[in-house]
Every structure is written in C-alpha cells, then in structure tokens.
Symmetry: C2
Subunit: 223 residues, 2 copies
DNA sequence: AATCATAAGATTGTTGACAATCTACATTTT
DNA sequence: AAAATGTAGATTGTCAACAATCTTATGATT
C-alpha cells in the first residue's frame, strides 16, 4: 500500500450525534417552533443518558435554535417575520457579500464547476417538483460560496444566521414563488462570478437574497 | 408600593456561574490562548462536579473562546492578527453600523445621557491611567450602542465577535496608542448621534473602529 | 366563584462512579 | 540510536441516582 492513504477518521462522540439528530429533527419539520424538548424523553428514545443530551441542548441553545431557562422547559425557537426581514436576512447578505469579495480573487475553475453542479441539481429538482432537492442545492450553493472565502469564523457565523432564517422559512411553508426561478437566479450570480466582476456579483447577490426572500415573506403579511 | 417594581429575579444555575467564571478568567488574562482547561481541575477548584463544567465548556466552545475535540484537550482559542483585521473587525463594524442605523430614529435623551456617562468614565480612566476602567467604558459604550437597536439577536452576534476581538487585543497587550484619544474619539461619535445624521455617525464609527484598531494592530507587525 | 395555600408529580440541575480514549513513558526490536 | 510496541496514568465521555425547582391539581378560605 505504498501510495494509498486512508481518509482521516474524525473521532466523534454521542453528544455530536445527538446534536446533529436534534438539529435534523428541527430542519425536517419533526420539531416545530414552540415544541417542547424533554431531556428524559429524548434520552430514552435515543437510548442514551441525559448527560450528552444536555450538552447537545447547550450547543443548540447557543446556535439560537433552542430556548432554555434554568429549571424551565426547553423549546424550539421561533423567529418573527420582522426579525427575519429586518435583521437576519440583512446580516446574512452582509456576510455573504463580504465572503464573496474575499473569495473572488482566488476563485478556480473547480469552484465554478462545483457551483454549476449545484445549479444542475436545482434544475433537476425543479423539473421533478422535488422541493427538498432544491432547498438542499440552494443551501449548498451559498454555503460553498461562503466557504470559498476560506474564513472558518465567517462560515460559522453565516451558518448560524442561515439556519435561523431557514427555520423561519420552513415553518412558513412557501419558500419559493416559482421553483423554476431558483436555478436561473443562481445562474446569474454564477455568470457574474465567471466574469470576475465583484461589484456585479454583489449587486446580483443582493437582488437574489434581499429582494426575492423579502418579497416572498412580505407577500404573506396576513398571518 | 403602588408604582414601585422590583427588578426581575433571573433564576440562575451553576453552569451559568461557571460559564461566567471561565469567561472572566479568560478576559482577565488568567487564562491565555493555548492554555489548557482540565475539567477535573476546574471542578475541584470550584467545588462542583464535572457536569456543569462540561456544559459551560460547550457554551464557550460555541462562542469561539474555547477549542475542543472529542477525547482531546480543551484549550483557550487564539485569533490571528490576520483574522482579526481581515474578518472580525470588518464584521464587527458591519454589525455596529447596522445597529446604529436601526437605533437612530428612536434614540432618546436618556440614551445620550448614558453614552455621555461612559465617556466621562473614559476621561477619568485616562486621567488616572486606569486602563481597565477605559476598556470597560469602551466596551460599555459600544455595547449600549448596539443594544439601542433593540435587536437581541444582533446583540448576541455582536457580543460573540467583540469578545473574540477583545481576546486578541488582550493578548497583544497594547490596546490603545494614546489613552487620551479614547474619550475624544467617542465624543465625535456621540455628537454625530446628537445631530441625528446617520451617514455621519456611520462615517465616524468606521473611522473609529476600522482605522484606529487596525492601525494599532498593523503597527506591531513584527511579531 | 375567585383567591390562596398545599402537596404530588414531573422536569431540570447536580453529583460521583464507571467506561472509553488518549498521552507519555518505558520496553523491545531492528 | 531510531523506530515500533506495549503498558500505566491521566483525561474525557457516559451513565444512573439523587437534589432542587417548577407545575399542576386539589382543597381550603374569603
């Protein structure tokens, strides 16, 4: 096995899996905002003790996905439409613009290829009416965009904010006005990236994130 | 006691106090970047069990102040000068500008008064050469500025970033070029706030945060 | 009936013991 | 001596029991 290399084994622990499981339960809609989490119930269902469950809760609380006060119940967080529109989305946009400006100078053809792939996924999702596939590809596209900055810290903050927005949209139900718009909007961004025009990329990103998202939310101002 | 109201009693718990104690140890310089945290040692010194200590570690890990991997040691995080200059300070500035624009329309004379008080504290600190007093007042000024936006979520994100920056400056030692500049720089911002000129406030804030901080860091580019 | 007090049960917080894993050092092997 | 192997001790991860606090239901008091 001269040249062969095994891929690195990242040690894991119960609390990491539990954290991921709960997060997954939230983003799959099985746990909705306001739903209560009982440590006992969770640990019994998972077949583990309450210790690691509590640690997972602390992590998710810090991510803003859970709310918890001493001796009081823990519930899934809820983000008001106002907070999403006025705070979360503008912050997300700011971070993403910042990331893209950082990334643009040293972007490679591999990056373009990968972003292209995500757009293809969106197209296929749109064709088959597979909302989950579109959501996943949408997330993957933007996540990769931010990761291209190479700034771990930025990535972490962005993820936190993005997840909060995501949770709000999830509970709102309607995420996109028209599934077919999703790939085309991202294609515009990708094209601007290819041209290497930072200002244009930012302009299109702003269009995409701020305008479309907020318009989508504003439309349902009656609930 | 017709009109009187007691201040709310927020129930607390060991893990909160422990979290605060460790955070305090970091910001007081007793724990420096790279220093190792042993759960056993901490719990014995504090006279508590490891459970709440571990939960506190999870919280601080999520805040970016500690680094921890399964079965590996936990250490105090370190932020490179590059990361602080290129990422953390720009993000901090962005968030603070955002907060100030949100706050400006409904700012009150009470707010102005309070900010004024912090500047007085800076002056007294400068006169007595009390660095800690200046640092505290500086933090309090900006924290209050952000809190005036009324956006809890924004406040949380800002605090996280600010603490990371703070940790870096702490370890660098030299925080201000000249103690006497601190109150005057903040006075400029306060005056712009009084005028209610959002653009001017933002311009001065940018000057204050980006330029002075970064210049201060850049000066010591030899380490 | 509405308010207050009380107690039982449920839930979260904390603890000390045990298990899994890592680290550093000693031992062997080459 | 250098590299590989194998312990012993230290450290982190997990567990199950116990304590503190909250919540709810019940009954007493007005």
């Amino acid at each position: 096995m001269a040249q062969f290399r095994f891929s690195e084994q990242k040690a894991t622990s119960l609390r990491h899996k539990i954290t991921e499981d709960i997060r997954q339960a939230i983003f799959s809609g099985k746990l909705k905002p306001g739903d209560r989490l009982r440590e006992n119930e969770i640990s019994k269902q998972m077949g583990v003790s309450r210790g690691p469950v509590r640690e997972a809760i602390r992590v998710l609380e810090q991510e803003g996905l859970l709310l918890s006060h001493p001796y009081k119940e823990t519930v899934v967080a809820d983000f008001s439409k106002e907070e999403v529109i006025e705070v979360l989305i503008p912050i997300r946009l700011t971070l993403e613009l910042f990331a893209v400006r950082k990334a643009l100078p040293h972007i490679t053809s591999k990056d373009i290829e990968r972003l292209s792939q995500y757009i293809d996924d969106m197209k296929e999702g749109a064709r088959r009416g597979d909302l989950i596939k579109i959501v996943d590809a949408d997330l993957a596209f933007h996540e990769y965009l931010v990761s291209m900055s190479g700034l771990d810290n930025l990535m972490n903050i962005w993820s936190t904010i993005f997840n909060q927005i995501r949770l709000h949209f999830l509970v709102q139900g309607k995420m996109y006005a028209d599934l077919n718009d999703v790939p085309s909007e991202h294609e515009i961004i990708l094209n601007a990236l290819k041209e290497g025009d930072a200002d244009k990329v930012c302009r299109e990103l702003t269009n995409h994130i701020a305008d479309s998202n907020i318009a989508q939310l504003a439309k349902s101002f009656d609930d």
